[in-house]
């Protein structure tokens, strides 16, 4: 890990200045790559039984591995994710592996991970401002012996990365789409269980006009049908029922 110090410190300096998430993520990815880590993930950690997928902020695992991990629902069995939820200090993956019984499934998970080039790694559990638990986990394709000094700076870099990424991720959320008064009216009736024909009768417009409105609503909300549009509009507080 030559020049780890100045590289990581420079990253810490500029982390907050990236204008968007993908530039920040690329920067972090390059910086840690030069420290010997070829892949990483930054994700919020769900409580038991909740899907981790929507909480992922930056996923730089090999894509095929992410798919496999999702398909196999490895998250609840993964010793590294289990430790990330409870620990408040950095740990090497090996520590987590040693902390749990080596079941067949864990063997399978670790064997497959290694085949995808995730042989060794280090995890930095972090508590975000809203106090949900998150983790930045770095992977290497070979066994790593990390100098303690470098570990501290990697931790710092992970903390700053996480802070900046959260800021950018929360800024990224676009303002809710604006629906016209008529569109909102139609959605409210749809939410009350009315069909297009019923809505057209209630509002004294043609059924085809109603359907046109509903198409526009779906386009604005990026939804496939009226039922989904109703759910989405409620979630985004566009309509209240």
């Amino acid at each position: 890990m030559l020049n780890a110090h100045s590289e990581l410190l420079d990253f810490i300096e500029r982390a907050e200045r990236h204008p968007n998430l993908s530039l920040l993520v690329n920067d972090f990815s390059q910086v840690i790559d030069r420290q010997g880590f070829n892949a990483f993930i930054m994700t919020g950690l769900p409580s038991a039984g909740i899907d981790v997928e929507p909480m992922v902020i930056a996923n730089h695992w090999p894509e095929a591995w992410s798919d496999r991990y999702r398909e196999q629902v490895y998250f609840p069995d993964d010793p590294v994710s289990k430790w990330s939820i409870t620990k408040d200090r950095p740990f090497h993956w090996r520590e987590a592996w040693d902390a749990f019984p080596v079941t067949k499934r864990v063997q399978q998970l670790n064997g497959e991970a290694a085949a995808f080039g995730l042989v060794d790694g280090i995890a930095f559990p972090l508590r975000t401002a809203r106090r949900w638990q998150a983790v930045v986990s770095l992977a290497s394709h070979r066994r790593m012996d990390i100098d303690k000094k470098d570990e501290g700076l990697l931790y710092c870099a992970a903390v700053y990365f996480q802070m900046a990424a959260n800021d950018l991720a929360s800024k990224k959320a676009p303002p809710p789409p604006s629906l016209s008064d008529r569109e909102q009216e139609i959605l409210k009736w749809a939410a009350a269980g009315k069909t297009a024909w019923e809505i057209s009768t209630i509002l004294n417009i043609s059924e085809s006009t109603t359907r046109t409105h509903q198409r526009h609503i779906n386009a604005k909300l990026d939804t496939a049908n009226t039922t989904q549009a109703v759910m989405e509009a409620i979630r985004q507080h566009i309509i209240h029922v």
């Binding site: 508590r127 401002a129 501290g152 700076l153 710092c156 903390v159 996480q162 802070m163």
Partner: protein, 221 residues
């Protein structure tokens, strides 16, 4: 909460509060965090609790809720005496207008989740005191995971050394710029639009260059 400034000049007015303050520190730093061995006194007092120390004690209904300690960096302080190796970028700062900020706490019964209003009120008021006293930077050794809090306040954080491991915890020496913006942003996080800083009794400035000769017998312990 009102936050009282207590130093060598007025500590005779705060005998009971200071005792509660040191007991709270014992409960947190000796019993809970186990940073120091228990000497059986029930109070956590170290070699830096001298006449040079200034305490800020947050009090609600006669109860100590928060507290902290500020030390002049021109005097022996934690970074100079215990952790000088944590300042490997800049060396240990030693300037009259730079204060070391240590032993900041909220007593467990008042603790809040995340970056809640008590932290904002307290940290903003520390900034307010420092501005009043002409201090330009405050900081010290701290757990690395605190860094996001300062960022949340919009403070300028200057890390002055590599992170070091202290009893298996990653810590880092860092200083923050004292500015009206830093004060206001933290106070706003604490939902405060007015000052809760209280000064009672004889006044002694933080910076030694402005101090008159010490009044004898002012120190209680």
């Amino acid at each position: 909460m009102q936050i009282h400034v207590v130093n060598a000049a007025n500590r005779h007015l705060y005998v009971a509060e200071l005792e509660d303050f040191f007991r709270a520190r014992h409960a947190i730093y000796v019993e809970e965090k186990q940073w120091r061995d228990d000497d059986g006194s029930g109070m956590e007092i170290d070699q830096f609790d001298t006449d040079e120390a200034t305490y800020m004690i947050g009090i609600v209904d006669d109860q100590v809720m928060t507290g902290t300690r500020l030390l002049p960096t021109t005097e022996p302080h934690m970074l100079s005496e215990v952790f000088p190796h944590s300042c490997n970028f800049t060396g240990v700062p030693r300037q009259p207008d730079v204060a070391e900020w240590t032993r900041g706490f909220i007593v467990p019964s008042f603790r809040e989740k995340g970056h809640g209003p008590i932290k904002g009120q307290f940290c903003g008021t520390v900034m307010e005191y420092c501005l009043n006293e002409g201090i330009s930077r405050i900081g010290g050794i701290q757990d690395l995971y605190w860094l996001p809090l300062w960022k949340r306040f919009g403070w300028t954080v200057r890390q002055i050394g590599n992170p070091i491991l202290i009893d298996d915890r990653w810590c880092v020496a860092a200083y923050f710029d004292v500015t009206p913006e830093a004060r206001d942003r933290a106070l706003a996080r604490g939902n405060l639009d007015h000052s809760i800083l209280v000064h009672r009794g004889p006044y002694e400035p933080f910076m030694q260059q402005y101090r008159t000769s010490r009044t004898g017998g002012a120190r209680a312990a």
